[in-house]
């Protein structure tokens, strides 16, 4: 099939960017979106032009590197898929496809479609861990039984791949889904409970410091999240944040 691509071109972080148009022919429906971008880049290189920079790595939907805003949606059309798992058969012959980077003050553009998501790392560094040394000499793994339901819920929250689609798709660039997924995972498990009060406050403070917007509960994040993480986690974090704030000394 033939498609027209309008792709964001931006030289560097503080430069002004613009959409650039390219025609693609003989696109196979079995190509992943990134493979289509590979072909485009190959063509550009052969023409002596610069290819588009974009982040990608595992190409099987788990590393969270890929990050494209395609036709007005994070990771493009389709639910529960990352850009690398999106296939060209999701588009129609002759369609015009807009490709943009994640847009958020907290995710500055590095180049073209590639953005800096280290703000997510800093939020985790603010408290997204259990303070236990890696000696291995902790208690036996089965010493504390964890109800299967809690373990499953913690797992569901833990499947977040940190891609940033929630921020990209939120009209306020809020990172609440990302932060709440980690807060939930750790607060649902007995191992994470001792630190849960400080954790939620520190992580939320760091999130605000990074310049993410506020959650207005539009629910868009949960729809566009490639891992289907639920906004129940946001409510859980709100609850924890409120009670931690009210009861902290």
């Amino acid at each position: 099939m033939n498609i027209t691509l309008k792709v964001w071109r931006q030289k560097g972080p503080n430069q002004v960017g613009a959409m650039e148009t390219h025609k693609m022919t003989e696109v196979s429906g079995d190509m992943s979106f990134l493979e289509m971008m590979d072909v485009l880049n190959g063509n550009l290189i052969r023409e002596g032009k610069e290819p588009f920079a974009f982040d990608h790595d595992c190409r099987e939907g788990i590393c969270g590197s890929c990050s494209m805003f395609i036709n007005g949606e994070a990771h493009g059309p389709g639910r529960n898929v990352t850009t690398c798992q999106l296939h060209m058969r999701s588009f129609k012959d002759g369609e015009t496809i807009h490709v943009e980077p994640w847009r958020s003050a907290a995710f500055p553009v590095i180049k073209d479609l590639s953005v800096d998501r280290s703000s997510f790392d800093r939020i985790i560094q603010a408290g997204g861990y259990v303070s236990v040394n890696t000696s291995g000499e902790t208690i036996d793994a089965n010493a504390i039984p964890i109800p299967k339901h809690d373990a499953d819920q913690a797992f569901d929250a833990a499947t977040c791949i940190g891609c940033g689609a929630c921020v990209a798709t939120c009209k306020n660039s809020s990172a609440m889904l990302f932060v709440s997924a980690k807060v939930s995972q750790l607060s649902l498990l007995p191992q994470g409970k001792p630190e849960s009060k400080q954790r939620v406050i520190r992580m939320v403070d760091q999130m605000d410091l990074e310049g993410f917007g506020n959650c207005t509960n539009t629910g868009a994040c949960e729809v566009e999240c490639p891992k289907g993480i639920s906004i129940t986690n946001i409510a859980r974090m709100n609850r924890a944040f409120l009670s931690s704030n009210l009861t902290s000394k």
């Binding site: 007005g72 809020s174 917007g213």
Partner: protein, 214 residues
């Protein structure tokens, strides 16, 4: 936003219940309504409540403005193509717009009634300010040239309020951390009902008053 919003929802209920007295016709209705208005402006407990409401409204507005500004700053470069309709409701994405409409309405509404009641020239019958006539006249095309327009605007404002509440009601619970597989559907149902019934109740009055007087 959530706390003040829910508090204002309570105010809406109270306000609507009072207003519904306008459906009572004749002299009996006029006296009852005016006495009610007198009570609402003089009773010390109501006074405290009303100051709380003013504070709530003010906080809701200021907070809304601050959040909106922060949220805009969080995305300095806008998307060329953005399809929010595929993942969220229109109301949820336009709370600020809806809120601003309600703010404009609020100012105009208070000027028409609250200001007149407190500071305007208003007839006093049996020692009670005749707010009832002010209200009737406001929607009477024979007296107020703009009665039809006003009725339309009031209905429009209530429509905005309906959308505002439609998202706001259940959103407030989510913000306060109330999300539970058993209870959330109930909250959502109540929210939907609330967002339809309350504005509909409010809007029915201008329409009714306009129709019976034209």
């Amino acid at each position: 936003m959530a706390l003040t919003g829910l508090f204002l929802c309570l105010f809406l209920v109270g306000h609507l219940l009072g207003n519904l007295q306008l459906f009572v016709g004749g002299e009996e209705g006029r006296v009852a309504f005016n006495n009610y208005a007198q009570f609402m402006t003089t009773n010390p407990l109501v006074k405290v409540l009303s100051y709380l409401t003013y504070a709530g409204v003010l906080f809701h507005i200021v907070d809304g403005f601050v959040l909106t500004i922060q949220n805009r700053k969080a995305r300095p470069v806008k998307y060329v193509v953005e399809k929010g309709n595929l993942n969220s409701s229109w109301a949820s994405r336009n709370m600020a717009v809806l809120g601003t409409i309600l703010l404009v309405f609020l100012v105009s509404h208070m000027q028409s009634f609250w200001y007149v009641m407190h500071f305007g020239e208003i007839e006093i019958i049996d020692g009670v300010k005749d707010l009832h006539s002010v209200t009737m006249d406001f929607f009477n095309p024979a007296i107020n040239n703009l009665a039809a327009v006003m009725t339309g605007l009031y209905v429009f404002a209530m429509l905005s309020m309906s959308f505002h509440l439609n998202h706001g009601f259940q959103s407030a619970f989510q913000t306060m951390g109330v999300n539970h597989p058993k209870y959330t559907p109930v909250i959502n149902f109540v929210g939907k009902a609330f967002s339809i019934l309350i504005p509909a109740g409010f809007a029915s009055l201008p329409i009714y008053l306009f129709i019976i007087q034209s």
